[in-house]
Symmetry: C2
Subunit: 489 residues, 2 copies
Amino acid sequence: MAADLDKVFNPDSIAMIGASNVPSKWGSFLLINLLAGGYPRENIYPVNPKENEIHGLTAYPSIAALPVVPDLAFVTTPAVTVTGILEECAARGTRNIIVISSGFSEVGEDGVHLERELAETARRHDLNIVGPNTMGIVSTRRRIFAVGAPVQLHPGKISFVSQSGNVGANMLGWTMNQGIGFGKFVGSGNEALLHAEDYIDYFGADGDTGLILAYLEGVDNGRRFIDIVSRISVAKPVIVLKSGRTEEGGKAARSHTGSLAGSDHIYDAAFAQSGAIRAETSQDMLDLAKAFERLPLPRGDRLGIMTLGGGWGVLATDATAMAGLKLARLDDDVIRVCDELLPPFWSRANPIDLVGNIYMDTHLSILEAMARSPEVDAMIVLGSLGTGTIIGLNVLVSQKLIMEMSDDALKGFFTELKDRNISLLNRAKELMLTYNKPIIFVEMQFIGEESLRDLEAGETVIFTAPEKAAIILSRMLGYRRYLERKGAV
Amino acid sequence: MAADLDKVFNPDSIAMIGASNVPSKWGSFLLINLLAGGYPRENIYPVNPKENEIHGLTAYPSIAALPVVPDLAFVTTPAVTVTGILEECAARGTRNIIVISSGFSEVGEDGVHLERELAETARRHDLNIVGPNTMGIVSTRRRIFAVGAPVQLHPGKISFVSQSGNVGANMLGWTMNQGIGFGKFVGSGNEALLHAEDYIDYFGADGDTGLILAYLEGVDNGRRFIDIVSRISVAKPVIVLKSGRTEEGGKAARSHTGSLAGSDHIYDAAFAQSGAIRAETSQDMLDLAKAFERLPLPRGDRLGIMTLGGGWGVLATDATAMAGLKLARLDDDVIRVCDELLPPFWSRANPIDLVGNIYMDTHLSILEAMARSPEVDAMIVLGSLGTGTIIGLNVLVSQKLIMEMSDDALKGFFTELKDRNISLLNRAKELMLTYNKPIIFVEMQFIGEESLRDLEAGETVIFTAPEKAAIILSRMLGYRRYLERKGAV
């Protein structure tokens, strides 16, 4: 049975037990982050017997004294106090509790004992406990940003469960920096009761979630994990980064969260069987997340590549073959378009080498011809976005030396350059919609990272290496093949 | 015999044959880039029979009419004119010519013929020809930035030869964005006479070059390549990105530069035999370049890891084992320092989990203890730099809500936060110098890319994934082992 976690992520009222005015305390910055994120202040109830007011909110001496029954409570008080607090919550009718407090099984024997007590109490009263030793939750649509790091994200369809608060926080930081929308996040902490798979189960049924990420160190009930993920993965991609892949990593995982890491081969088999997409590295998980969020799945392995220069085309061709994909055959229509637009010595083969052609209309026409070709399942576009940057830099340098353009003309020129890229990206979005084929842009490093994020605008994918584009498309195809085998597409 | 390329990269005077006032022409933007980069304008001689002045410089009708014998000439005129121009250069005494012009072997039969003519003429007159169809050269110390893209780099010890102008230009863009210093660059173009290995040979003897990069699609004379690289690699690392690894990539390379790619196994063997460090991907080459530029080589495989949180430690442990490295044993001195500074339940094993400890003194003391330990050959530091960012974000959020600090206090606070990181990075630099061991920092994504570059300040290495840190250290160790086998250390 799936736990009912609705009020964990969609509470209409929140108690902060252990709320504090002392800035260095969790009870302070958790409350501040919640306030800063925009959760309605009138629905937040700090509990602290020693204060009348905390960060401008009325503080209450106890849970019993609260004017409402809060849907959700955060607890940041010392470990020894937590079981008593759960009793008070149960008595008041609050069934969902996020235990931030540390000092449980992660600190050794005494903590193990406290955690067992906590679990028994929770079971007796049928409470949902997140943690203990969790770094908190995010629920973007409800404007709940209740984690240690002050993240504020915009709504999106990715939801994420992490067995490490630290890895979780950093990935939230990444999504913030990359302009990626976010749905829900939970650090599962020590998992005294609720386990990673429970959150995956909840995200599977959650209408706001379209894509599920999980950072795992160990799963206790493998059968249950496989059952849950199998059920969900036919409808939503489940991307898993599992550490403890090596014997040494397994030992580190045990000392970190006490999880029984188990043999990595078993995990590999479990992920394959249940349709989970396994990320190879932390960076791979982030790249997969972005691509699955924004791109349609390729329906075959035939890649069309358009490149501003030959060298990149060669690198992309290697990457295509090494990722297990094929170069698409260019059909007559594509060849006709290229014959019209490119010099007579053009490659006449995929990759299509634009030989430094800077006319955006050429790029657009060839991209469109490839997108509509029945021979092409997915596309990589190398260097097209960077041409504008290089032209712009050239003009700026010229401007300093020979002063040809008025300020207005210069401004207009740069607006035009930006419009070039926007027109290409917009066309790509339309083509992806029309033909249901993914397009990945690659710019090595002429455009700075932050400008690339601006261009992506949370809707397209721009990578900085052709190898990455090919490998990610191949993983997406793997998932598509899984869906086909399951009859889900 | 090594070609004498001194005047290619260190010319005291430069002719620009085909210089132009028409902004879209190579003859215009190459000249502008050269001027903008700071090469002395009085030593630049535009040649164009139709103009009296080009971008403010006196233009000359012919090479014969120049008031000096230029050390170096760039040629941007149509392919059919080039052989005649070489004759004129030879007659005038100019022996070093960079042929930017395209339209040679890369466009088919007619071009092949022209290129053969060009090569014969050059041999007859004993000329050094870069190209044809090259995107130009960079020689930072002489302030020569004569490439298609308007790069301006600061001096450094990396020199780079690329068989693709496009790949070359983008890697220059990357070094610019990353704040990496640069020595010399050359796009080898069609290699009618001078080949990639000639430039490697020259860089090997060049006092300004400490690290050589090469992007290769194919080497015609394998024996000569191996001889040259073997001789150089015992003194300077030679990092090679070789495309055409797959059959498909080989075909693409042939169609791009006409190079005989050959079997990738042969290249692998040649690189191993000659001590070249093979980059796996374009991104790998960039990462290797940065690490080899800034870090001492590890002398063994024992890695010390310090992490702000356990999850990263587990990922880094996996990465260590997968890269063929070991976790260092913590000796009594390291354990004593950790016992003093960390809570009693600390991991007592490598990775050292700081459990979110935010005191920079703790980070510094533990890093120093690891650096001086005879058990540790290299270090990875995870999350230490990010703590300040998270504290800062928390304070900013608090500030908006509860307005505790004056503007001055806030400013002082942020200066302190920045100083934390600078003190850590400075200490790391000292420790690397004192103990001759590499230290790599890892921050996932809480600090933006551009701020990471500011922190690196061109002197330290900060990666965004633990997997990358481990793999790069392992490649550096591989090179160190090669040097040991050769008796070069």
